[in-house]
Symmetry: C2
Subunit: 328 residues, 2 copies
């Protein structure tokens, strides 16, 4: 059954299962950008793609792999969910610029230039210093522009992000973060970044990960939708979407892996702390893929028009996918 309205969630990293794919279906979610690499190198990323291929084979009524915007339209018509691959770190390309095109051919559509730490390409938001885009980074941006892989700066540091926006000839994305002005978490983005991002045609995906929310798990739907309304005022509603960062059903060992990879012998707690090391619980109004309707209602209540809501819930990402995923 076709989905009545278009819903795209532009970032999830769940412990995938038939149950979750079924919930995507129940929630009428036509496309999800899923993280398939945090620290995985190329061969490990391919192994994660193989796992997805098995799920595509097992659950064809629920999900299939998305490669371009048309797949979102098809998913909506057929009442299924198109799954788009992305990487939260450039680790899948390792030290090899030639792997960008290979990863794009395999379906990689978003790649963060850095994840919390310094990468070969750019600086992460947990480093003390941010020298901006490196020599390799400049070449990688040009290559990502060429093949149609979206530059994602969600976990990158300020200067690197501003330079990536400037250097990229195509609009970039911050797939999952919120405005720093609303909730001053290290991962949330400054007004300067959001201005530059949106003025260059880029997209911001609002995150529902509790560490990014004002009040954390206790954040209200009103507060969240109010932040979207403020951002719409400042940057234009057409540049906003959802990137929920939903990490459903993940054991806490996974957030330890996300934060520590293979680089740390000590334990890095990232946005958490020693006494609050695990995944934080979701707010009651956004537990999983069945709750996008709550957000739509919340957006009505803060005064958005029907058209603006349709944009934020999916049409804006769809427009971006149309522009972003093809080679130049």
């Amino acid at each position: 059954m076709a989905h009545p309205t278009l819903v795209i969630d532009n970032l999830q990293y769940a412990n995938w299962s038939q149950k979750i794919f079924q919930q995507m279906n129940e929630g009428g979610v036509s496309a999800v950008h899923v993280t398939i690499a945090y620290h995985e190198q190329f061969r490990e990323t391919v192994a994660n793609m193989k796992a997805w291929n098995l799920w595509f084979e097992q659950f064809p009524d629920l999900i299939f792999q998305g490669f371009d915007a048309k797949d979102v339209e098809r998913a909506r018509e057929e009442g299924r969910t198109a799954i788009f691959f992305g990487f939260q770190n450039p680790s899948p390309m390792e030290d090899d610029i030639g792997l960008i095109e290979i990863l794009h051919r395999l379906g990689g559509r978003f790649m963060q230039l850095s994840y919390n730490n310094q990468s070969f390409l750019a600086t992460g938001c947990y480093e003390d210093e941010d020298p901006g885009i490196t020599r390799f980074g400049k070449q990688a941006i040009a290559e990502m522009n060429r093949v149609g892989m979206v530059i994602d700066m969600s976990h990158s540091a300020e200067r690197s992000t501003l330079e990536a926006i400037e250097l990229s000839t195509r609009p970039i994305a911050i797939t999952h973060a919120n405005p720093h002005a609303w909730h001053p978490a290290l991962r949330n983005k400054s007004d300067a970044v959001l201005k530059a991002l949106t003025q260059a045609g880029g997209m911001l995906g609002f995150s529902l990960y509790p560490h990014h929310l004002k009040g954390g798990t206790d954040c209200t739907l009103e507060s969240f939708c109010g932040a979207i309304a403020d951002a719409a005022q400042a940057y234009g509603a057409e540049h906003l979407g959802i990137g929920s960062d939903l990490c459903q059903d993940q054991p806490d060992s996974v957030v330890t892996w996300m934060r520590n990879g293979r680089w740390s012998k000590e334990t890095d707690y990232g946005e958490g702390s020693a006494s609050n090391a695990g995944f934080p619980p979701q707010p009651g109004w956004f537990r999983d893929n069945r709750d996008f309707g709550n957000i739509s209602k919340g957006l009505v209540n803060v005064g958005f028009s029907e058209k603006e809501i349709a944009g934020i819930m999916g049409e804006n990402w769809l427009r971006f996918y149309r522009q972003a995923f093809s080679p130049i």
Copy 2:
């Protein structure tokens, strides 16, 4: 036949052959630190180790693998050459701090924290900006200190080098570079770096790679030995040695690999240029391993004592090896 005086060359990257091992023997070279990785990742580095294992098996009268300072003494007594492995980039450890101990166990004794570009750990000398040692870099330095792998900053940028000297609890090395004051190449080292390095007990290996020499290929032996004399005056002769950077018999394709690795689709010419892209010819007084005697004579002529010359030609590196190669 035992070598009459101790000669250690603390950096070579030749196109290895029986001829070269024979020349080491003729030149009375008791130890060579050989580069076995420029951009190679772990598995590729292991492949290079296997190639060395074959040479060790084929030419046991000439070479064997060195693991500690005692192997240098044994090589000298037996008239052979102890080969110590090193990496010009942290690429062999990839993104994995646990690989430092593995690489040390396999014989890795020197590792540069960066090679020209930004690495996960530190900045290379060709980047425009140098943010210093990264989060991962701080942990890698502590781990290298723990297991006894020497931090080498030959191709690193200024601030990163100063911070590495400061952060490391053990003396570090600049295995192959010259004073910037003598020849202001990008790769040569500032007075501030050389002061900090030597005051912390570190070693500088003088390079004979023409791009690091005043006058390039035409550099005179007098000028080279004069630079060593000036450095001895400024920093103490006991902190100086040779790290020739001899790239004997390498095809020019290798210098292209050294400069471009897998990161660049354009051609980076490094210290060369489009019109001078290949390996530069060696000065006539240092063609290969048979010419260390010329340097000894040149050091006599600029007024060094016998003891100082013995130090520079090998004893200083031997002392450093004794301190540096064992776990804490």
